[in-house]
Every structure is written in C-alpha cells, then in structure tokens.
C-alpha cells in the first residue's frame, strides 16, 4: 500500500488493505499485455494512415489494469482519453474499440468522435470527451445519484497530473467532499501534461495532498506496482461504500510514449529520464514476478504475445472491412427526436449527397 499523502485528514489504515488474489495475476498480466500490444499496433496503424490519431498508454498499464481489477463491474467509469487498460478489463471487445478508432458503422458512437474517445453504456464506461477534467464533476453527480437510488456502487474517474489544474477538478472534489460522494478520484500522474512537467503544473508537494483542500484522504501509490494500485483502490472503494466519502489516489507512473501521435516528446524531455522509467516498465515488473513465482514461463509469455498480436491484427482486419457510417446518421442523436429544422437540413443534405455535391 502506498504511503498516505502526508497531511491527509484520515489516512486509511494500510493493514486493512485486501490483496490482489494470486490466482488473478496471470489474467491481470494478460490484460496488460493486450493493452501494450494494441498500443504498439495502433501507433503503427496511425503511422500508416489507417487510423487518424492515437493516444498511447505505455507505462500506465499497471495503474489502469490494477485499478479496474479492484472494481465491481457495476461501478461506473468516467475516463479521460488514455484508459485503454480500463476498457479492456471491463471486457470491451478489441474489435469494438478498433471500430471506434476507424469510426465505421460498427462503432457504437457512429463515427462521431476521434480515436480513443470511446464509451460503452453496456460496460458502464462513460463516453470520453477531450476537454480535460469535465468527467470529474460528472462522476460525482453520478455517485450522488447512485446513492440516492440506493445502489451499492462507486464511480471512478480517471485524469492526469495536468488535469488537477482544471476547473472541474476543483469543483468535483469539493462537491464530493461536501456530499461525501462515493467516488474514487484516480489521478495517473504520468509526470507530463504534454510538454509541461509535473513540477511546473503545481507547487503542491504531491498531487494526493490536494485532497486536504477538500477534507478527505489522498494517497500516493506506485503506479507501476499493480498490487499497490489494487489495494489502494479497494480501500477507497470500501471507504466509499461504507459512507465515508471519496478518496483521491495519485498513481505515480510515466508516459513512455508521446502524448499522442501528434506529439514529439524529444522536444521537451530527455532520453535519460525516459530510460529511468523504462527500467520500471510495469509489464516487465509483473512478468518478473510471475516468472519467479512459477505462474509463467518464458515460453508461455512468448506464446501470449504472439497470440495477442495475431488476435489484434485479425480484429483490425475485420474492423477495416466493416462498412463506413451512413452519412445520414449525421443528423441523429442531436436530440432524442429530430427537430423540424434538423429534418429540413437532413433533407437538404440527402439531396446534395444524391447529386454528388457532398462526398463523405
């Protein structure tokens, strides 16, 4: 269990922390490998122009998978845009994600958003948006609603170090404190907000320490250690369901890749720093543990990577073959029902489309 941020009002007792069941570990590792494989593949696909954009998660797999593993499937996730590991643990099929990355007719979102901005009501994984932080206060409202409806769930919201500066971080954590909302604020401090390092984002000693301002506990965990993350989240979940309110968890990780495929991190950070964190690669760490315990052999591992790669390639091939979205869906879902104005625009659009004046 990570150390409680100094100064937290009620640090949870570490001895109470439940452990990640040993039987689960191979599954946890598999989820992390799948995330890594998809990441590598998508970076390539973007370079090849087969998807338009991508936001990698490399370096953050243990934090994401460890957190998601500690939750109940009924808990609601309010992600940022980097939470592939969480989506995979939730069970979102790879093909469905890739449909979103392409924006084809298989995409539950109907091709409306950039890659990575997916969401699946079925998996209680709320559709992501780009403006940072907005999900935070929403997660608090949802938690209040769940409690009001008597449902024993928590909401978990994900955001980065940079997002602690956002309006919604402040509003959301303050509301959560006041209303004792059953919410877990899971901050992945990956040390960078695009080109701004953590130390220049805020002068607070840790990000977890910001919880002091809202009167609830903040804890720091090593986000490359899946066990530590799991325990911290379980603790926070227990607290929330016991009516003791929210917890802020700062998982210290590192973004090994670029911010997105539009970014070139060599402009603002050093190879030495990168190498330091590459040495703490969460996948290597868990693999080592599994090899040591005998739960995994090198041969198993090689096979795992190979099958996973094949599966992802196959899923992408299938996604690429899926038909494009129907252009007329452009006018759906603005409202539950199209207004007369939208109906008229749709007709105008359909006519232009027919005449070939609009090419989707």
């Amino acid at each position: 269990m990570g150390k409680a941020a100094d100064k937290s009002p009620e640090p949870p007792a570490p001895e109470a922390s439940p452990d990640l069941p040993a039987d689960d570990l191979p599954k946890v590792y598999r989820a992390m490998v799948l995330a890594r494989v998809m990441d590598e593949r998508c970076l390539t696909l973007q370079r090849q122009g087969r998807i338009g954009f991508y936001v990698p998660l490399q370096g953050q797999e243990a934090a994401q998978v460890g957190c998601a593993w500690a939750l109940d499937s009924e808990d609601w996730i309010f992600p940022a845009y980097r939470e592939l590991g969480v989506a995979l643990v939730r069970g979102v099929p790879v093909k469905l994600l890739l449909d979103q990355f392409i924006g084809n007719s298989g995409d539950v979102l109907k091709g409306r958003q950039m890659p990575n901005h997916y969401g699946y009501r079925e998996f209680r994984f709320v559709t992501a948006s780009s403006p940072v932080g907005t999900q935070i206060s929403q997660a608090v409202g949802a938690a209040m609603a769940a409690r009001w409806k008597g449902e024993e769930i928590v909401t978990v919201t994900f955001f980065g170090d940079g997002t602690t500066s956002s309006n919604d971080f402040h509003a959301g954590l303050n509301f959560a404190g006041v209303f004792k909302a059953p919410t877990i604020f899971f901050c992945q401090n990956n040390q960078w907000a695009i080109s701004l390092p953590r130390e220049r984002q805020t002068r607070s000693e840790t990000l977890a320490a910001k919880a002091v301002a809202y009167g609830f506990p903040g804890v720091v965990v090593d986000g490359t250690d899946v066990h530590a993350v799991y325990r911290a989240v379980r603790d926070a979940r227990d607290r929330a369901l016991a009516g003791d309110g929210p917890t802020l968890i700062e998982a210290q990780v590192y973004r090994l890749g670029p911010h997105s495929t539009s970014d070139d991190p060599r402009r603002y950070r050093t190879d030495a720093e990168l190498q330091k964190w590459k040495d703490k690669d969460p996948l290597a760490r868990l693999k080592h543990e599994l090899l040591t315990s005998g739960a995994l052999t090198e041969a198993d591992d090689a096979a795992l990577w190979e099958t996973t790669r094949k599966d992802v390639v196959a899923a992408f091939a299938s996604a690429e073959e899926t038909s494009p979205v129907d252009p007329l869906t452009l006018f759906d879902d603005v409202f539950a029902q199209r207004t007369p104005q939208l109906e008229a625009q749709r007709e105008e659009f359909a006519a232009l489309l027919k005449e070939g004046l609009i090419k989707p």
Partner: protein, 325 residues
C-alpha cells in the same frame, strides 16, 4: 385554474414535477433552506428534504457537472443558476458536455437536465444581473432554449422541459416574475415545445418577441392599432426548437417584421429570425426588417431604461417599416 404570478407558476411546476416523479430533484445555490434568491424554490426543501433540494457550494461548474452526472445515472435534475449572468463558469460543461453527450456517445448517454435561470434586465441589476445571453445557447447544437412570458406558459413549458429527455435551458423573465399574473390550468398541463403563441393577431406587420419583451410588444401593438396599423405579436416561447412555420406564416400574411429582444443586436437571436425571413419569406416581405434590441454595449446600470427596448421604440420601428413598403 388558479391565478398565479410567473414565479409562483414555476414554484408550483417544480413541486408538481417532484411529487409526480421521484427522479426529479433540484440543485443550486441557495435553493434549499433559503428557497432561492427569487423564492422560486420556496417550500421545496421543507417538502422534499435536502437530498432532493440540494444547496450546493458556490460553483456553477460543479452544479452543471454534477447535474450531468446525475442525469447520466438516470435522475432528472433541475439545476438553478442564480442569475443567467453567472452561468459562464458552467459554459464548458454546458457547451462541451451537456449539449454534445447524446450525440458523441452515439445516443448512449442522453442528458435529461433542465437548467433554470432568471434572465434579463429591468431590476436595476447592472452588468451582472441583467444579461440576456440566449443567443449563445441557441447557437449551441444539442440544447433546447425556452423562454416563457406568461404564468400559464411558465408552468406548462416547465413541465415539458422536465419531461424532455434532452437538455433544456429554461430562461425566466425575472423582470415580470411578479409583475404579470394570470390564470394557470391546474394539473399536468403541458405546453409543447416548438409552438409559438400568437399573443395578438394582426394583418399589417409582425412583431416577434419573447419573454419580458412581450408586454412592451403588445403595448406597442395597441398603440399602433390606434394609428391604423394592425400588428400581430408572435411570442416564440421556444427559441430551440423554433416554430419556423409560425414565423413564416405570420410574415407571409403581414409582409413586414419587427424583431424585439433585450440582448445586444449584433449576432443576437433576432439575426437568426431575420436570416430565416430573408431566405424563406423573401418574396412575401414588403419592407426591410427592423430589429429593436439592446445596444451593442455591456448592460448599463444608471441608464437601464434607456438601454432596454420599450413600446415607444417598437412603435417607432414599426412605423418606419410600414412607411418603407
């Protein structure tokens, strides 16, 4: 039928909705114990308790963000923004999230949220207790924008707003919160969205208005009648969805339009009405369209009465339009 003021009608409407549906709740600054700074939520805290009539911290960002979260989870929150002038800290949540959630999620996550807020001038509130910024929201795809001008419409449109599965910005003309009172049907009588109300019939000219601009528009029409011009007054009631049919039908009949609103003229809602007429009623128009609006300045304090459109200015513009063709 009961005789109510607009603010009483809203209060009644909220109570009725909360009684009928346990998923409806109210949140905002000072809405609970205090009953709202305009008393629109008076009595609700007592009847429904602090879990359903929630006094929030001073953060519009938080109010709208939390309301969205509640709606995603299946509740039907009615958020109050104390004055429309104070909605801007929530603008990101409204424009980026509330308006787009259904769309961007492919229909998975509708936002069943009503935001109520008193708007407009006439109470000597200066720059920050007088604004009429409906155009920002009407331009935001995914939001409905409603502005009642009578107690019956206030109650009937509020009922529709609370039942609507989409986000609705419900703007209340605070200047006539108590000035206007009228008969309000009892029970769950809804006024549908997208249907303008003909506040006064006429054949020579149409005055388009909404909210607190209805009384001076009707007054202007009466003055005009005395000099032989028979003006129709169309109360739009819902800016989004707009009753374009009624707008066009009126001008097809009268051939002349004066558009009235409190907001600054430039890029105000009146511009859209004029644009629709210039596109779709062009051949019916006999004369230039005139707009009688607030000026393109911030809202003043001492000169409030000089700033706000009044019946005299509307009459003046109407006469100019009639004279022009």
């Amino acid at each position: 039928m009961t005789e109510l003021t607009i603010v009483q009608a809203i209060n009644r409407g909220l109570a009725d909705a909360m009684r009928a549906d346990p998923d409806v709740l109210v949140l905002g600054e000072d809405v609970g114990v205090n009953g709202g700074v305009f008393r629109a939520t008076e009595g609700l805290f007592k009847e429904f308790g602090g879990d359903r009539v929630i006094d929030t911290p001073l953060s519009e960002t938080g109010i709208v963000g939390a309301a969205i979260g509640m709606a995603l989870y299946g509740l039907k929150p009615v958020a109050e923004i104390q004055f429309l002038d104070f909605i801007y800290p929530a603008f990101d949540q409204i424009v980026s999230e509330l308006a787009k959630f259904r769309y961007r999620s492919g229909g998975q996550y509708p936002c069943h949220v009503v935001i109520r807020s008193p708007y407009g001038g006439g109470i000597k509130g200066g720059l920050y207790h007088s604004q009429s910024s409906e155009a920002y929201f009407a331009h935001t795809a995914g939001l409905k924008v409603v502005i009642p001008s009578t107690p019956a419409d206030a109650k009937g449109l509020l009922a529709t707003a609370i039942a609507d599965p989409d986000p609705v910005l419900f703007l209340e003309p605070k200047r006539i919160y108590r000035a206007v009172s009228g008969e309000v049907p009892d029970g769950d009588q809804r006024v549908p969205f997208g249907e303008a109300r003909i506040a006064r019939e006429g054949a020579d000219l149409t005055i388009f208005a909404y909210g607190a601009m209805i009384p001076p528009s009707v007054q202007a029409a009466e003055t005009l009648a005395a000099s032989g011009t028979n003006a129709e007054v169309v109360d739009l009631r819902t800016l989004v969805p707009l009753d374009e049919k009624a707008v066009l039908a009126s001008v097809e009949k009268t051939g002349r339009a004066v558009i009235v609103h409190e907001a600054p003229r430039f890029c105000g809602f009146g511009a859209e009405l004029a644009a629709i007429l210039a596109e779709k009623a062009f051949f019916s128009l006999k004369a230039p369209i005139q707009r009688v609006t607030g000026y393109d300045t911030p809202f003043p304090y001492a000169l409030e009465n000089a700033y706000l459109p009044n019946a005299e200015r509307i009459v003046h513009a109407a006469k100019a339009v009639v004279a022009a063709g």
